[in-house]
Symmetry: C2
Subunit: 347 residues, 2 copies
DNA sequence: GAATTTTACAAAACCATTTTCGGAATCCCT
DNA sequence: AGGGATTCCGAAAATGGTTTTGTAAAATTC
C-alpha cells in the first residue's frame, strides 16, 4: 500500500499542500467547495495524516507517558483503565513504561522524556526512589508531571493520592477495636511516602491508645516474595506473635495467608488481618479479607484529568493541586471478633 | 530549559549538522577526535534527540501498539509485563490502547495505525469482534501484527495462544473424574475463538463419556456483572442445577462464588468449580480454586518476541508462526471429592 | 611525481506537516 | 469608479533530524 501524503492529495487536486492542510483542519480561509473535494479524496485514498510530521512541526505529540512500578498489582491495573479512559476521550495516546521498582530504570525512562516524546507525564515512583533529580530535570523542560499514589514530595507539582495517613489510622484502629493488642505493620519500603504515611496513621493509633511500640511493630518487606515469606514466617513462628497484621500492599496479603496456613494459625482467631487492597476477590477469600480499598480507577482518572488541564490551559499551575480521593474500609471475616462470622449482603 | 538541537550542537562546535548527526551514530567517516568533542558537548548540554524528527525521516517509530480489551483481568496485567519487558530490552516504546470490549473502539484505534504511528501491533481482539476488515486493512499498510490469546483466524499472521482446546478438555475431564455428571460451561462469547475452542474441548469430553449435551450445557455471559449474576443465579437456583461449572474467564469465578454463597450452595459438595484464571489469590480463596492457569507473562513475551523478529528481520514471515504455550491445571479444593480436602504443599 | 584513493567534513535534499506571508480576484461601500 | 476589505489560495519557511552527494586535503599507489 503506497503511502498517501498531503502532497499526493495536492497533486491530484491541483492544489498546494498548504491549502490541503488547511482544508483538513477546516480553516476558514478555504472554500467549502474545496474542502469537500479534499475530504472526498481523503476518503477515496484512505489518507491518514502522519502524526510525527505534525508533532515535529507543532512541538506537541498528543501523547502522555504513564510510568508505573509494575502492573502485577490490581491497583495499577485499575488505574491504567482510568487513565486510558480519559486519554482516549481527549484523543491522546498513552505510552506505558514499567520501572519494575528499579530506580535506575526509572532514571533512564525519564531521561528520554527530555526529547519531547510526550507532552506530559503521570508517574508513580519506584520503591527505590529516594531522590528526585531525574524528575525535576524533565520538569525544567516544561513538561507537566502529575504524581499519583506514590508521590515524591520534593517535587513541586500536582499529587493525586488517597488519604494514606487516615487509612493507616483507620486500619490500625479497626484492629484495636477488634481486640488486637500487638499489631505489626508490614511495610513495603522505608522511603515510600505512601508506606510511611500509612505507618504514621498506625503509630498515631498506638500512641492514642497508650500502646507502646514493640520492636517488631513494623516489618519491612522487599520485592522478593520468598524473602517476604521467610520474614513473615519468622515473625509469626513464635508464641508471642502479633495478634494483628496490617498489609500495606496487596501482594503481602497472599503471603500472610500462606504463612498462617503453613503455621496452622487461624485467621481471625489467632491473628487478624487487614490489607490495603483492590482485589476483587477479597470477598471470596478464605476467610474473606477486610480491606482498605483505594479508589484506583478514580485516582487514575483524576490524575489524567489534572494533567490534561495543564496541557490544555497554558499557565495552569499544577504546583498546589493536591487531590485526595478517600479509601474505604470494608470489614470482613479476617478481622472478625472470634466466633462471630458476619454475613454481609455486600453483593 | 531551551531546546538543544543538533543545529545548536553544530554551531557550538563549528561543524555541520550532518557531521554531528553522523558523530552521534558513530559513523566511520567521522574522526575519533570530533566524535569525542560531540559527545562531550552532548553531555554538557544534556542533548536528547527528537524522536519524531528521526521517525519522520527514517519512517520508523521504534514504537509498538498493544491493543487489549481491558486490564481488569489479571491475564492482561501479566501479559503487559511480559510485553513491556521485551520492548524495553529492545529499546522500543509501547503505546497501550483499551477497546473496553467494543468493536467500534477497536476499529477507531486500528484505523489510526495506518498513519505510521507504530511499527507493529500486538492485539487481543474485543469480545464483539466478529469480522476483521479493520485489521487486514492496516495489514495492507505493511504493518506486522501478532495476535495473542484472543486471535482472529481469518487474518493471516502469527498467533500466540495457549492450548485452549486441550485446556477445555482437561477442565471438563477433571470435573467428570471428580464425579460431575451435569456440567455447565460459562462462556463469555459465542464468537471469540478462545471461548469456543475451550468449549469444543468440553464438548469432546461429553461425547467421549457418552454424556449428552443438556440445554443448559453452555451459558453465555456478557460483560455486565449484574446480568451475569442473574443468569448464573437463575441457572443454579434449581434442584436440577449443574454439579460442575467451568468458568471460561476469571471474572465469572467471583460471580459464581457469590451466587453459591447467596444460594447456600456449598463448593465443592453441591457444585464443583474450575476456572480459567491467573489469580494469584486462587490458592487462598474460600474454598481454594481449581484453575487452568494460562502462561500470561510468557505469552506476552512470546508475542512481543515474534513481533520484534518481524520488525528486525525484513521478509520475516509471520503468517505461519503459531506459538502455543500450554496452560496448567492446578487442582485445589473447589473440585475436591466431597469430604476429602487435600492440603497441597504448593508454596 | 602524477594518478588514485581515502579521510573528514560541508552542503543540500529529504521526511510530512503547519503556518506565515503575500497576492490576485472579488465584493462592498460611498 | 475608486479605495478598502474580504475571500481563497500559493509559495515558502520552519520543525529536527538522516542520508546522499560533493569536495578539499591528505594519504597511498604505481
Amino acid at each position: 500500500m503506497a503511502n498517501v501524503t498531503i502532497k499526493k492529495l495536492a497533486q491530484e487536486l491541483n492544489l498546494s499542500v498548504g491549502t490541503v492542510s488547511k482544508a483538513l483542519k477546516d480553516s476558514h480561509e478555504i472554500s467549502v467547495e474545496t474542502k469537500r473535494k479534499v475530504h472526498d479524496l481523503v476518503n477515496k485514498l484512505n489518507y491518514v495524516p502522519n502524526p510525527y510530521a505534525s508533532s515535529l512541526r507543532k512541538r506537541k505529540s498528543r501523547t502522555i507517558a504513564v510510568v508505573l512500578p509494575e502492573v502485577a498489582d490490581s491497583f495499577f491495573s485499575l488505574a491504567i483503565n482510568g487513565i486510558e479512559a480519559v486519554a482516549q476521550e481527549k484523543g491522546y495516546h498513552v505510552l506505558i513504561y514499567l520501572t519494575h521498582e528499579s530506580f535506575s530504570k526509572e532514571e533512564n525512562i525519564l531521561k528520554d522524556f527530555k526529547s519531547g516524546r510526550v507532552d506530559g507525564i503521570l508517574i508513580s515512583v519506584s520503591r527505590e526512589t529516594t531522590e528526585s533529580n531525574h524528575i525535576r530535570d524533565v520538569q525544567t523542560f516544561g513538561i507537566p508531571i502529575v504524581f499519583f499514589d506514590r508521590v515524591c514530595e520534593e517535587v513541586e507539582t500536582a499529587n493525586v493520592t488517597t488519604n494514606d495517613f487516615e487509612s493507616g489510622y483507620v486500619a490500625a484502629k479497626h484492629l484495636v477495636e477488634r481486640g488486637c493488642r500487638q499489631i505489626t505493620y508490614l511495610s513495603i519500603s522505608s522511603t515510600l511516602s505512601i508506606a510511611n504515611k500509612r505507618m504514621e496513621g498506625y503509630y498515631k493509633v498506638l500512641s492514642d491508645h497508650g500502646m507502646k511500640m514493640k520492636e517488631n511493630g513494623v516489618l519491612f518487606c522487599t520485592n522478593n516474595e520468598a524473602d517476604n515469606y521467610r520474614s513473615i514466617k519468622n515473625l509469626m513462628n513464635n508464641n508471642d506473635h502479633p495478634d494483628g497484621l496490617i498489609a500495606s500492599v496487596e501482594k503481602l496479603t497472599i503471603t500472610v495467608y500462606h504463612v498462617c496456613k503453613d503455621l496452622d494459625l487461624r485467621i481471625p482467631e489467632d491473628v487478624k488481618v487487614i490489607s490495603f487492597s483492590n482485589l476483587a476477590s477479597a470477598l471470596i477469600l478464605n476467610p474473606s479479607l477486610t480491606t482498605i480499598t483505594q479508589p484506583a480507577f478514580e485516582m487514575g482518572e483524576a490524575a489524567a484529568s489534572l494533567l490534561f488541564k495543564a496541557l490544555e490551559k497554558r499557565n495552569y499551575v499544577l504546583k498546589d493541586k493536591n487531590v485526595v480521593v478517600p479509601s474505604v474500609l470494608n470489614v470482613r471475616d479476617s478481622t472478625n471478633l472470634t466466633g462471630t462470622h458476619i454475613q454481609e449482603p455486600e453483593w
